[in-house]
């Protein structure tokens, strides 16, 4: 593959519009790629970290408050937030547990169900795809409406309000995950490279063999595309559905409750926790994706 001054592999063409650019590029071309890779990696990490530190400084010194026009009551200092987290760790953990169970549970159940639905849609393509398209209309209904409906529908499931709420919340999370996964799984099963089906046919392969050896592996990248949407969505759904649930537990609920009681510092503590949950889960997803899809072309 031909490269050169215009290093296409790092990013699209760097256009030289003046002599200065050209001189720099000539020098770099002679120095070789090794240096450039290091400099690039450094920049990728350094810049955002510096920016983050800048924001933190502005925050702690209350300059941020002046910019946004707010006060330390509604936007507490970072130090205070950390303190609150440390002081209330067990309580916070309890709520985190509740939220994570709902989010992850809904995610797994919903994704598995979605995958199965994708299989069904693949087996009956005419009807399947129409069904999935209709189902995707469900995602247009805002969570705010779905959550209460499900709450009411599951009222009689159990006598324990805790269990009832868990069920309702998990169902809400499942809806987005199922639809997203079903659509992507269907595409993964059916968007095959040209002639790969013909190849299988030439080996007189059975439908099951074609499914296991061709369609399933082909669907894995699509599965992860769906998960990239489902994972953050499941967390948001879990948090929002907690607002409407009967039983008062969960990170999202605590955010709401704290604000209603004007305990802003606690609210921010929970917000930070919510962000961390999101980041950790997404990081796990990325690592898993890297492991499962190892070696494949992007």
């Amino acid at each position: 593959m031909e490269k050169g001054v215009l290093d296409m592999e790092v990013r699209p063409m760097k256009i030289q519009f003046n002599a200065a650019d050209e001189a720099v590029d000539k020098k770099e071309a002679r120095k070789g790629n090794q240096n450039r890779l290091n400099k690039d990696a450094l920049a990728t990490v350094l810049y955002p970290v510096l920016f983050g530190v800048l924001i933190l400084v502005l925050w702690q010194t209350q300059l941020l408050h002046r910019i946004l026009g707010t006060d330390t009551f509604t936007l507490p200092l970072p130090g205070r937030i950390i303190n609150i987290i440390l002081a209330n760790a067990p309580e916070i953990l309890k709520n985190v547990q509740a939220t994570v169970i709902v989010a992850v549970g809904g995610l797994i159940l919903g994704s598995v169900l979605g995958y199965l639905l994708g299989i069904v849609a693949m087996a009956f393509p005419k009807w399947g795809y129409g069904g999935i398209s209709i189902a995707s209309a469900f995602t247009a209904v805002p969570i705010v409406a779905i959550a209460p409906i499900l709450n009411n529908l599951t009222k009689d499931f159990s006598d324990d309000p805790h269990v009832r709420s868990m069920l309702a919340k998990t169902l809400v999370v499942m809806i987005t995950c199922t639809v997203s996964m079903a659509i992507n799984a269907y595409r993964g099963f059916t968007e095959l490279k040209p002639f790969s089906l013909d190849l299988m046919k030439s080996y007189a392969a059975s439908k099951m063999t074609v499914f296991l050896k061709l369609r399933v592996p082909n669907s894995l990248p699509y599965v992860f595309t769906a998960l990239r949407i489902s994972v953050p969505a499941s967390i948001i759904s879990a948090l929002v559905s907690e607002y409407f649930a009967e039983y008062i537990i969960g990170v999202g609920r605590q955010i709401r409750e704290s604000i209603v009681l004007a305990q802003y510092a606690t609210a921010w503590a929970y917000i930070l926790v919510a962000c961390l949950i999101g980041i950790v889960m997404y990081a796990i997803l990325l690592v898993t994706e890297g492991a499962v899809l190892k070696g494949r072309r992007r």
């Binding site: 031909e2 490269k3 050169g4 001054v5 215009l6 592999e9 050209e22 590029d25 000539k26 071309a29 002679r30 070789g32 790629n33 090794q34």
Partner: protein, 277 residues
């Protein structure tokens, strides 16, 4: 037909009246291009010690298998690639100077037309950048489209045209700036045989009237021998000039020339000049 001929004559007249050096010769001395190896190993020698002289108005083909450096050579001439050592002089100017003067015409293998512009506006695009005023632009676009035989397709969008027609638009666009030299990187490889043959004849006609210096990269020996005055044979590892074969077949050349003994003798000569394949 008549319209096209008139367009070509007008184009020729424009060229002469514009400037003395409407096309340029190329002198390449001791050119070497090395690519640093990504993993820090030995650098890849794409071209080693190329010496070449191309007269103004010559049609020159660069032929060779993949990896022989023909595209690299073309890109270095076009200032899309920097040489490691050596020099290139185009009508007395460095490639960079020619590029900044906006005197290059390039046709890629993929026509790369803008989907959101009509054919006319696609041909217009380089002239807009050069700042040529609107009436002149319109005149030239019409001239170019007539030259490549696409006058009636001006208002169409690229996706409405076939591959061969898109490539003709690409050629029209390249010629619109009155370039000093025309660089073509395997422009017809993606087309079928029939379209290719027609485009060969078209290109030959355009060249014979406009007399541009053309550097034509291809991997097809037949194509090179049919079109050019001179075929430069490149061999890989490292990229070097194995031979320069003069093609003295009479012009204009029709398709029937491919059946003659002289033609096939030249093709054999070129083929036997490859080293290390």
């Amino acid at each position: 037909m008549l319209r096209t001929r008139k367009a070509i004559m007008d184009y020729g007249k424009d060229i002469v009246s514009e400037t003395e050096e409407f096309n340029a010769g190329i002198v390449i001395k001791n050119l070497s291009v090395q690519f640093p190896d990504k993993n820090g190993g030995e650098p890849v020698e794409a071209l080693r010690n190329i010496n070449l002289e191309i007269k103004p108005g010559e049609f020159v083909s660069l032929v060779g298998p993949s990896g022989c450096g023909k595209t690299t050579l073309l890109r270095t001439i076009a200032d899309l690639q920097q040489p490691t050592t050596g020099s290139i002089s185009i009508g007395g100017l460095t490639p960079r100077e020619v590029r900044l003067q906006q005197k290059f015409g390039i046709v890629f293998q993929n026509p790369v037309l803008y989907e959101w512009r009509t054919v006319r506006r696609n041909v217009c695009m380089p002239m807009e950048i050069m700042g040529i005023p609107k009436p002149e632009r319109t005149r030239r676009v019409t001239q170019m489209l007539e030259l490549v035989g696409l006058y009636h397709f001006g208002k169409k969008h690229p996706h409405e045209l076939s591959g061969g027609m898109q490539q003709r638009v690409g050629i029209a666009r390249a010629l619109a700036l009155r370039p000093k030299i025309l660089l073509m990187d395997e422009p017809f490889s993606a087309l079928d045989e029939f379209t290719k043959e027609k485009l060969h004849l078209d290109l030959q006609r355009i060249w014979s009237k406009t007399r541009k210096t053309i550097i034509f990269v291809t991997h097809s020996i037949q194509e090179a021998v049919f079109l050019s005055d001179k075929v430069v044979v490149l061999s890989p590892h490292p990229g070097r000039v194995s031979a320069v074969v003069e093609i003295d077949l009479p012009r204009p050349r029709g398709l029937e020339i491919k059946d003659t003994a002289e033609f096939n003798a030249l093709v054999s000569r070129v083929r036997n000049s490859f080293e290390g394949v």
